[in-house]
Amino acid sequence: MEIITISKFNNNKGLNDEDEEMEDVSNNDQIVTPGELITEDTVWMRGHGTFALGNKTYSSVAGTILKVNKLLSVKPLKGRYTPETGDHIIGRVIEVGNRRWKVDIGARSDAVLLLGSVNLPGGILRRKSDTDELTMRNMLKEGDLLNCEVQSLFQDGSASLHTRSLKYGKLKNGIFLSVPRSLIIRSKNHSFVLQGNVSIILGVNGYIWIYKTPTVDNRLKTDSTASTASKLQSGVMGRQSGYQVGSGSVSLTRLEEESSWEIYSDKNDENISDAIRSNIIRYRNAIQALAHSQIGINESRINMAYEASMAYGSLGSLTEPEVMENISNDVLNGEKMRGS
């Protein structure tokens, strides 16, 4: 009977070092530690994660060296999320302010979401009015989770977000999970439909939302509507952020329908079956297992971990450290066999 696992303190978390894999190991895979001499060359401009003593440049964090033109910086392996324009992330509203929401995105400073950067209820092309300012809490309030994109960065590195696309917005029908942001592998797409009627959004900031796949058949259309929306928006907002504008075409009335108050509803779908609920939990525990072993997370690994977890019938057993390590090993072995 599973009641509790009590293990001795073990500070060497994760698997053996040979299996370790970090997301950010790019072309520059040299790892430095704080206080380590990086270069004596003075041509480099010193960026984040470095400090200078005399003419020598040292690292102030543990991480990988990043050289962009003449800018030398060290990207920390661990640490808070640093937003970048275009990141698909998940945030939690922590304050409703004057024509803006303050959003926790796991970064050093809270992000802002301007009232002008969301879809207003009742039609995407509507001009924002005075009453919108007063009804902001009806759209998003403290605690609400949203799926959004970093629109731009302020001088101090804090982010301005937007949800001006139908694929973004308020999250419901699922559960939230947070993993170290360095484990999320950046890819083209960060939302996936998985087997078992479950979908997932892997926020680049390490925030993850696992939810029931929406039943409406327009899910496939979402991509096209989204890009249409962004096309429309890019004109309206006058901000060109390098969108690859899609070729979908959807009537405006449809857009208006979908962006009604419904998108800000707090109500979950009725009758989410127990099967879907336990699938969601299984995915959650599978991702936890990957995070436990410090393995980078992407769609295929989630699927593999999910399948590996099937060997353990009970969901409860998936929280045991031993089982989590086994699952991670299965995933890594599976990758080796496939040669990926």
């Binding site: 599973e2 509790i4 009590i6 303190f9 926790d104 609400d144 419901k172 029908n173 127990d274 959650r284």
Partner: protein
């Protein structure tokens, strides 16, 4: 800062159904796994450290001091520190009270083991430091909404710490009723005695079953009630949507007081607080009766391991 309405609703639906699904997939009687070690503070008579998988951690130190007898209730002092929160917050002193009372009521041999002479006693100072996993999710210093109820975890820690506590061996006369003298002690660490004697081997235990050896420090279990379902050791999100909370004590094979209702919701919203049915309480007690022995056995393993290894350290 709080959870979103739909998150809470989803969770409540999951937990209140006939076949409840907990957010981390645990069975309703399954506790979260912990990592534990004892005797890691060289300056304390006993110490323990417990880490939960979510990163929260509890550190306990027990120190002793020789005092002249005043009242038995004064023989244990408990100090609880949580993160960097002010210690005069109501819930912190509530938790301190519950922990201290459970110790006082269920202390081994009714304090006989702390008795040195007819006049002198050992007084125990139990210092508890709880580091919550939410400390960096906190937006302000006074925001306690993400603080989970640590009673259960702390009581496990106190259990381990007390079982690892060693007190110096008295070498002066234990009867000082007529002649007053200050107690003196053997200053060799290897001749100290365990506050809670360890079962050296199984046979001895079987011989004198119900005597001293079976006594253990009390454990506390926190239960969350959602409709007709009970969940042991609720996680922070489960606490947030509980109809009601319940703390149940367990000591030496029996359910003991405190048996009290608790408010598990730290964020101050009361929309989910509803109360429970009488039947829930009975079920809760049954659940603890089934589960607690396993937990204390598991903790005893750590004690056995730790105490033996410490002994080795002190020899070499």
């Amino acid at each position: 800062m709080s959870f979103s309405v739909s998150e809470k609703d989803y969770l409540y639906q999951s937990l209140s159904s006939k076949t409840p699904i907990r957010p981390d997939g645990r069975k309703s009687h399954q506790l979260r796994g912990i990592e534990a070690s004892i005797n890691f503070l060289p300056n304390s008579n006993g110490s323990s450290r417990i880490r939960l998988s979510d990163g929260s951690e509890v550190i306990i130190s027990i120190k002793s001091k020789v005092v002249k007898m005043s009242t038995l209730a004064d023989l244990i002092e408990l100090d609880l520190t949580i993160d960097n929160l002010r210690d005069d917050l109501t819930f912190i002193s509530d938790w301190t009270n519950i922990l201290r009372n459970s110790l006082l009521r269920n202390f081994a041999d009714k304090f006989e083991c702390l008795k040195l002479t007819t006049r002198y006693y050992f007084k125990l100072y139990v210092d508890v430091l709880f580091l919550s996993s939410s400390s960096n999710a906190r937006t302000t210093k006074t925001d306690t909404s993400f603080l989970q109820n640590p009673l259960s975890m702390i009581s496990f820690g106190i259990y381990l710490a007390l079982k690892s506590t060693r007190l110096p061996l008295l070498i002066s006369n234990s009867n000082d009723k007529d002649i007053e003298e200050l107690p003196t002690f053997n200053d060799d660490w290897s001749s100290t005695v365990l506050l809670y004697p360890q079962d050296e081997d199984e046979e001895i235990k079987e011989n004198n079953t119900t005597s001293q050896n079976s006594s253990s420090p009390p454990l506390l279990f926190v239960l969350s009630v959602v409709k007709n379902n009970l969940f042991i050791d609720p996680s922070i999100e489960e606490q947030e949507i509980s109809d009601c909370g319940l703390v149940i004590g367990w000591c030496s094979g029996k359910v003991v007081s405190p048996i009290e209702s608790l408010n598990l919701n730290q964020s101050g919203s009361s929309e989910y607080i509803k109360g429970m049915h009488g039947q829930n309480i009975i079920e809760g007690i049954k659940m603890i009766e089934n589960v607690a022995a396993t937990v204390s056995k598991g903790l005893d393993e750590i004690v056995k391991d730790g105490n033996n290894s410490v002994f080795m350290d002190s020899i070499f």
